[in-house]
Symmetry: C2
Subunit: 332 residues, 2 copies
Amino acid sequence: MKKLINEPDAVVDEMLAGMVDAHPDHLRRIDGTQVLVRADGPIDGKVGVVSGGGSGHEPTHGGYIGAGMLDGAAAGDVFSSPTGDEFERLVDAVDGGAGVLAVIKNYEGDVMNFETALELQAMEGAETAEVIVNDDVAVEDSLYTSGRRGVCGTILVHKAAGAKAAAGGDLEAVTAVAEKVIDNVGTMGMALTSCVTPEKGEPTFDLGADEIELGIGIHGEPGTERTEVMSADAVTAELTGRVLDDLAIEAGEEVITIVNGMGATPLMELYVVQRALGGILEDAGVDVWDSWVGDYMTSLDMAGVSITVCRLDAELKELLAAPADTPALTVA
Amino acid sequence: MKKLINEPDAVVDEMLAGMVDAHPDHLRRIDGTQVLVRADGPIDGKVGVVSGGGSGHEPTHGGYIGAGMLDGAAAGDVFSSPTGDEFERLVDAVDGGAGVLAVIKNYEGDVMNFETALELQAMEGAETAEVIVNDDVAVEDSLYTSGRRGVCGTILVHKAAGAKAAAGGDLEAVTAVAEKVIDNVGTMGMALTSCVTPEKGEPTFDLGADEIELGIGIHGEPGTERTEVMSADAVTAELTGRVLDDLAIEAGEEVITIVNGMGATPLMELYVVQRALGGILEDAGVDVWDSWVGDYMTSLDMAGVSITVCRLDAELKELLAAPADTPALTVA
């Protein structure tokens, strides 16, 4: 294993320190925790929007903290859920008096620990709500979940819910927007290589020099299908077809897409995939409102890509186009 | 070799198609070329700022096209200079009547072909100027250069010169700003792994499982020193020390830094490096005005990092903070 780290068990702490060092105007770390919150928060009278989960998916989640997106995020150890206590510190820290929405990716540890934290905060008088993101169309149940996994579509939930909260929406309205994204978004991913965790130091699954894996998760879970190396066009057709089928997207509908790198994929390759995706959607008569290409939700040093499609309406377009000012995403 | 591509000799064409597909509001491709220009250009009465070079460094250069940065960029084949003809098409396309500044990274092919294009355009009446970026402190001469190589510091030249042009600066003033950045910026990089070109399909240099290479370039050139694997802190100290020495940065001076991923480096690791860099500069009494962390100038699928430091004054801070709206960099 070769990585730019120091001690493997210090990597999350040092990463968070680096994030705050680079983005002091955006991020503040709650002392003694792995929780990052808005430097200028909590915002009085605004619904707080929070997320969190294991580390290794950067810029998810801390990179999306800032005006118009998240108010804070708890970082667990690599691929491990934050504790209930850390989630509780997070919810408490961002509560500006209008309630807090927790955006939870569907993993058993995240759901259990986040829900425990929300219950405890509610007992202390906080107004709280939750949504569970489950956009991965590759699997029905998985190694770490009952039901589908939450992956890159989560970023669109952050953006839309964050914009609604910034516009003064109440907790019910912010939650409704988050649910609308979840109802209309799907993602599927693939890997050229496994990721290597700092602690283990070796691949979490083995792939031959001429093999790729479809339907992978973001925690080194093996995928649903192993095949010989395919062209970028063939990979894109496979992933996109599965997502469009799941969402039952039809000609004339309007969508946003994300071509997301898994951590070690050059941008050159992501744009080759984008070209194929654009062609498929054009042939299908689907209207593309916007296309994001880059590393939005990664899996350490995995080489691969996921494709996200989300059906849009006028409200979601307005929210996704609204200003955001975060380390990883700026919408002017 | 496993890559998300189709035919290796189509990768640049397909990447450019994907860039335009994703960013139609920003980018337009000149038919029959590998030249991208601003979708809303040329801008009447504004100095055009252009760059270009071999592909494989994405988002450099096309990703920096847009208001406040570049007016256009020519993309060569992977690690190959664009032709003189393509550079000439570029310069001609962005000329809004106030002249064109070419920002050239110091590689023999780029310099020769860009200068030929500028001479031919000047003969047709265009007002042109050039600057040559040579920020790599690792080597004095190299495989592809007389003098130092141009690497990630180039992005700061694009930003400052682009902002000066957007603010109405004339060709002389825009050129002077570019020269000021070049005089005050240094970069040094290292690799955990070699890159693999689509055409060759194998590493351009061999590194053992316990070796790293310091002083690498961005075209798969071997570095200046091969060592055993070092910690992130030790790597950061080595690179930063070399850059600070070269620039003779002293306590009390103000700088901007870039921790740049080489293409396959997870953001988690870049932030671990950022933490170390911040500590070194604090200990040295250097005042950090801003810190950029991410993939700004890559070398295909190389895992590694480069560190850029640029000394600032009031003018450069104002220009770097000015608005920019490009696919890869948004300053609101």
